[in-house]
Amino acid sequence: MHPVLQTVLGRLGLGLATLFVVSLIIFSAIEMLPGDFGQAILGQAATEETVAAFRRELGLDEPPYVRYLQWVGGAIQGDLGTSFSGRNASGTDRSREVIDLIAPRLWNTLFLASVTAIIAVPVSLFLGITSALYRNSVYDRTINTTTLTTISFPEFFVAYILILLLASLYPIFPSLANVDASTPLSERLYRSALPAFTLTLVIVAHMMRMTRAAIINLLASPYIQMARLSGASQTEVILKHALPNAWAPIATVIAFNLAYLVVGVVVVEVVFVYPGVGQLMVDAVTSRDIPVVQGCALIFAVTYILLNLIADIIGIITNPRLLHPK
């Protein structure tokens, strides 16, 4: 088998194994709940029968591995169980399917993350590469100190500064980003402007610094000096000698930061009351609505693992040592 294929398959297998263990951990969340949680959810007035019925519905009578298989089987088909909220002591059940709660919000979150990524990735690659090329110049130092400051800011600090300036003092954008399925695209973009801007500022700082470090590392390679000494111009050095070897580190940087974006989304969604998965998850954690927490966590984890997997695979298929084995 070709070494590239072999390595990629190996990496895919590792990704699957990780996914399996992660799903096991998330699943076991419900196992770790204290014994009387049924009472806590249904309220003090709940009778023993309603609690017992609730436990039966969750399948807590079945052995754990059966329930795990059912849970995973359901998750693959898009069934993440039923929310805890909406139940009460009398046994009436107005709870909703977790997937119905998540699906519209997932779309919103992906929209926000994509808008951010479309702006942030090119900007930070440009800043990172140029500051690496003009290392130690005033330009580089300014960018470096600015981004070092920005990465130290909590997301909500950046968010509220933007609200203060662009929503309160100079009301250009709305401070609340309430969108729903019927919002037209232009309106959606307008309302998501501040959250997207906040995320962009935070991500660009991180991504730019990592890109800069990766490029500087690359430019220090002896073969770059060799290329200069064979008369290659600056452009040629970068395009022909640095770039072919830069895909792997750059892919890693982008994937890492997109994964970071997934997490940063949680706080930003709460600040701007943006109806996304992050906000849903925080609400679920506050009300200890475990099935919803599990569903959200699973989605975040899968995205995260997937992004890292893609970066690794890009690294593998651009590695000349693997592409051209001995």
């Binding site: 390679s221 000096q225 060799m226 000494l229 064979s230 000698h241 072919p244 070897n245 000349p320 001995k326």
Partner: protein
């Protein structure tokens, strides 16, 4: 080469060049006002020890300074133009066109993403010296001239697909491809084994002669530079010590420093009386995991003598040391010390068995904990093995420092506050602190400058006489072996090729491998390489 027809005007004229490097928040001088004149077709050897500034000067001849360095004064006149005054894009018209560079580490200097032939021909095509198909045809011809295997197809490979010695020759082809006026060779054979070095040197010398290219050859190895250069310039701490035509420099150096460089090779040891063996290695097999590295190794070390183990990288000489110390338990065979069988594993040996065998490492830098002072480094074995404490310990540390010719002000220093030779001396003192009978010296001088090597070797020999020590001296450097050993063991590919008294091993008839190894060691004679190749070809 000196007989070549040389035009009168110099190709390069460097006048009063000064270069500084930035480190530790300030600028330090690296080149302190050096002049250099190179005629067309002439080969100049730049030699000196680490920190002499030879690489910096060699690159400066191309108008190139490494990142973090700057030219503060002087001219670099190449064919009438002062390169020091040009900006980078103007200098790019010279680089890869009229002057090219051969780096020390070919493996790191080739771009892993491109095929060898594309990298070989890139400059010639860029400067329109040749069109693509001519350049490729020419590259294949150069590969052939450089004795590379499969010259037609080797260029289609990627850098990681060929060996180090081949890569170094491909890099020479790459440097020659645009037919430059000047090639700068920066320690091109330092990373190679001697037997490979001979091939690479031969190839480089013949191609430089063929095209009558001027070259600057940077190295720390006198015997190598003697083969390559018409004139030799000796540098030290960024200053020129002297310059002379090669033969004159070898026979009659003027400066004391140059003489001291030459003198190292004249160390000689009187053979020790042959005594009964103190250490016997019998039928040892050893492996790293599934990879077997030693095959039925037998070595016997007489008491009070120095046995040198020589071989190239991969010969198993360092592995043998690891087996003796117990770090790598052998698969088969046994080791007898003073008639007793040593347990295979380090953990199973007694404190006494650990004490009597000590080890000195190649890199003194990594052999000492950088956070411990000399007192702690030498004091620990005294405390650990001999239970010395307080004033007794202090007294013994000072005695040991005296033995290694360092005074007591060194006792509070950290390794970073010592020079290379001083560090290695402290390592020797640490080994002596255990009162050992047997010391394994693993390439102890190969990381040191020649003049420092001499001091260390002399010290080791004096200590041997005074303390009746036995040494197992592992090295790849034949001249060190000649200087200090009583007996010699030649190893190749995990097997012992031969063992015997130095005089016997070094005089013919030799087994094939010993012959190859010994004949490949460069000698100070400028005609050595030529004669060797004539002998081998006949």
């Amino acid at each position: 080469m000196s007989s070549k027809n040389q035009k009168a005007d110099p190709l390069i004229q460097i006048n009063n060049l000064k270069i500084e490097g930035f480190s530790d928040e300030q600028w330090h001088p690296i080149i302190k006002g050096v002049n250099l004149t190179l005629k067309r077709g002439q080969v100049m050897g730049l030699i000196g020890e680490s920190g002499a500034g030879k690489s910096t000067l060699g690159l400066a001849a191309m108008g190139y300074t490494q990142p973090g360095c700057r030219i503060t004064d002087g001219e670099i006149i190449f064919d009438g133009t002062d390169l020091a005054q040009l900006n980078d894009s103007a200098k790019q018209q010279y680089w890869g066109n009229r002057m090219t560079y051969v780096a020390q580490s070919a493996a790191a200097s080739f771009n892993p993403a491109h095929r060898l032939i594309d990298q070989t021909t890139a400059s010639a095509i860029r400067f329109k010296i040749k069109n693509e198909s001519d350049a490729k045809k020419d590259a294949k011809r150069l590969y052939e001239a450089l004795n590379l295997p499969n010259p037609e197809s080797i260029g289609d490979r990627y850098p990681h697909q060929v060996s180090g010695g081949q890569l170094q020759r491909v890099m020479t082809a790459m440097a020659m491809s645009p037919r430059p006026d000047l090639i700068v060779f920066d320690e091109p054979t330092t990373a190679l084994d001697v037997t490979t070095q001979v091939e690479v040197l031969t190839a480089m010398k013949s191609i430089v002669e063929e095209f009558n290219t001027a070259a600057i050859y940077i190295t720390h190895d006198l015997a190598v530079v003697a083969q390559m250069a018409d004139v030799i310039k000796v540098l030290r701490y960024g200053n020129e010590i002297e310059e002379a035509e090669t033969r004159k420099m070898l026979t009659a150096p003027e400066q004391d420093y140059t003489k001291s460089l030459w003198s190292v090779r004249s160390l000689e040891k009187k053979p020790a009386k042959v005594q009964e063996p103190i250490l016997e290695i019998q039928n040892i097999d050893a492996a790293y995991g599934k990879f077997k590295v030693l095959h039925d190794v037998n070595i016997s070390v007489p008491r009070g003598s120095t046995v040198a183990v020589v071989g190239e990288s991969g010969s198993g000489k360092s592995t043998t040391a690891r087996v003796i110390t117990g770090l790598l338990p052998q698969l088969a065979g046994e080791i007898k010390f003073d008639g007793q069988i040593l347990p295979k594993r380090l953990e199973d040996r007694t404190k006494e068995q650990k004490r009597i065998i000590q080890m000195i490492y190649q890199m003194a830098d990594t052999a000492m904990n950088p956070r411990q002072t000399v007192r702690e480094i030498i004091g620990r074995p005294l405390e650990f093995y001999l239970n010395l404490k307080g004033r007794e310990k202090e007294k013994r540390i000072l005695e040991l420092l005296d033995m290694i010719e360092l005074d007591d002000q060194f006792i509070d220093r950290l390794p970073s506050e010592l020079s290379g030779g001083q560090k290695q001396r402290i390592c020797i003192a640490r080994a002596l602190a255990a009162n050992p009978k047997f010391i394994i010296c693993d390439e102890v001088t190969s990381a040191l400058d020649q003049i420092v090597q001499e001091g260390i070797l002399k010290l080791l020999m004096r200590l041997q006489k005074e303390l009746n020590l036995t040494y197992l001296f592992i090295t790849h450097d034949i001249s060190t072996v000649r200087a200090i050993s009583d007996e010699v063991v030649v190893m190749n590919l995990g097997e012992v090729v031969e063992q015997g008294l130095k005089a016997d091993v070094f005089s013919p008839p030799h087994p094939d491998y010993t012959e190859l190894l010994l004949s490949s060691v460069p000698e100070m004679d400028p005609d050595w390489l030529k004669n060797l190749n004539e002998r081998r070809n006949s």
